[in-house]
Amino acid sequence: MIQIDLAVRRRPEKLTSLQFLLLFLGILLGTSLIVGIGLILQWNSLNNLADEIGELGVKRDSLEILEAEIIRYKDLKDSHSELMLVMEDARKDTERRLDILRLLRTELEPGMKFLSCRIEPDSVITRCLSPSNVKVARYLEELSRSGLLRVIESEPQGTRQGLIEHRVLLKIQ
C-alpha cells in the first residue's frame, strides 16, 4: 500500500455541542484551578501580611513607648532649661546683691561702720555709723558715682557707741 498523505490540518469551522461542552468544562476547570491557586497564594500572602502587621504592631508599641519617653525627655529638658534660667537669674541677682554689698562696704569713709542692709529688687536700705555727717555725705557721693545706686534719702537715727547712726535709702539703677 502506497503511504502518501497530503493532509494539511485546518481548524474546524464549528464546534459540536460536545466539543463546546468539553471546551466550556475545560475552561471552567482551568479557571477554577487558576482561581484556586490564586486564592491559596493570596491566603499565604494574607498570612504573611498578618504576621507583618503583628510585627508592625509590636514595633508601633515600642515606638509609642519611645515617643512617650522622648516627650518626657523633652519635658525634662524644658524643665531643666527653665531651672537653668532660674538659676542663672538667681546667680545674677546674687552677684548683683554681692556687688551692692561689696560697694556698700568698700565705699565706707575711715571711722565709719557698716551695720546692716536690706536689698529689695529695686532698692536698698542700709544702716551705718559715722563719726560725722560730712563723712556720710562723702560716702553717699561715692555710692552715687558708682552708677549702680542712686541716693534717695539719708536720715540720722540717733547716736550709738559715740557715733551717729544713719539710715540710707538707695535706688538700684
Binding site: 500500500m1 502506497i2 503511504q3 502518501i4 498523505d5 497530503l6 493532509a7 494539511v8 490540518r9 485546518r10 474546524p12 469551522e13
Partner: protein, 282 residues
C-alpha cells in the same frame, strides 16, 4: 470506520469498509446538473456526514497542479534517498516549497534499486478541496496513488498491467509491474461524451495509450493486460476494444472482486478510488 469519498464532476462516490457486524457498503450521490457549485457539494457532504455519522474519511486529490511521479533510485542511505527525492521533486515535479505540499513513499526494492513514489500538490488546492468537507480528513491521497493501491490490493497486483480509470471528465493511467507501480499519470482535458466509445474516441485513446506507454523504460513495456475502470468501464466492450488498440487483453477492473460489499451489479468499476482511500484510512 473509515470512509473513502471520491468527488467527481457528476457525483460523490463513497465506500465504507466492514467493521464488526457492519458490512462493507458503497454508494453514489448524484449532483444535479444545474448545481454543482462548491457550496452545493459542501451542503450535500454535510448532510451525508450527518446521516452516516462519518468521523474518519480519506479522499483522493486530483487535477489543478496535483503532480505524481514514480522513479527508481540506487541510493540505499536514507539521506541520499531524500536527496534523490528532493532532486526529482524540484526538476520533475516542479515542487515549490512556498506553494506546494510534498509527500513521498519508498516502495519495493528491485535488485539494487528502490522505487519511490512522490507527489506534490498546491497547498491552496488541498485547502480548497478539504474545505468541501465538514471535517478534517484522516489522510489525503492522490487519485493516482489511490488507483495504484486499488490495483496492488487486487488479484492484478502482482501482474504487469496498465489500467485506465476513465470518467466523463477525468482520466488516470497507472502501470503496475511485478507488484510495483512504475508509471502514474493524470490525463488532462478528458471529455467523454458517450458511454460507449465512438470510433473517433477510440482512435484518440489509441494514440493516447501508445504515447503514454512510451514513457515506460524499454524493459518494462511488455505488459499482460489492459484494465479499464470508471464510467467508461460501465460498458465492458470499451475495455476489450481499448485493450486491442495496444495489443493487450482488455478487461474491466472491479476493485470489489472477492470483497463482500453491498453494491449494485456492474457498478463496482466506479469505486476503485473511493475503495483505495477507505483502505488507506484503515
Amino acid at each position: 470506520m473509515t470512509y473513502g469519498i471520491d468527488i467527481s464532476e457528476e457525483e460523490i462516490r463513497w465506500v465504507r469498509l466492514p467493521k464488526g457486524e457492519n458490512p462493507a457498503v458503497c454508494g453514489r450521490i448524484l449532483l444535479e446538473d444545474n448545481d454543482r457549485s462548491p457550496r452545493r457539494i459542501r451542503q450535500v457532504l454535510k448532510e451525508f456526514f450527518s446521516r452516516e455519522r462519518v468521523s474518519r474519511f480519506v479522499f483522493p486529490l486530483c487535477g489543478q497542479g496535483v503532480r505524481a511521479r514514480v522513479f527508481a533510485s540506487d541510493k540505499v542511505d536514507i539521506s541520499e534517498l531524500e536527496d534523490n527525492v528532493a532532486w526529482e521533486a524540484k526538476f520533475m515535479l516542479e515542487y515549490n516549497r512556498h506553494r506546494d505540499v510534498l509527500s513521498f513513499d519508498p516502495l519495493r526494492s528491485v535488485g539494487s534499486q528502490t522505487w519511490i513514489v512522490a507527489v506534490a500538490a498546491p497547498l491552496e488546492v488541498i485547502q480548497r478541496k478539504s474545505g468541501l468537507f465538514p471535517k478534517n480528513p484522516t489522510h489525503i491521497e492522490t487519485a493516482l496513488t489511490a488507483l495504484a493501491n486499488a490495483v496492488l490490493r487486487s488479484k492484478w497486483g502482482e501482474k504487469d498491467i496498465i489500467i485506465l480509470h476513465l470518467d466523463r471528465s477525468r482520466g488516470f493511467l497507472v502501470v503496475v509491474s511485478h507488484g510495483n507501480p512504475i508509471l502514474i499519470q493524470e490525463i488532462p482535458r478528458v471529455n467523454l461524451k458517450e458511454a460507449r466509445l465512438s470510433e473517433e474516441a477510440l482512435s484518440l485513446w489509441h494514440d493516447e495509450l501508445k504515447v503514454r506507454r512510451n514513457f515506460l523504460p524499454q524493459d518494462k513495456r511488455r505488459l499482460d493486460h489492459f484494465l479499464l475502470s470508471g464510467e467508461a468501464a460501465l460498458v465492458p466492450e470499451n475495455a476489450r476494444v481499448l485493450g486491442e488498440c495496444i495489443d493487450l487483453t482488455g478487461e474491466v477492473f472491479d476493485p470489489f472482486d472477492g470483497v463482500q460489499i453491498e453494491c449494485k451489479a456492474g457498478e463496482g468499476v466506479l469505486f476503485p478510488l473511493a475503495y483505495a482511500c477507505a483502505l488507506r484510512g484503515e
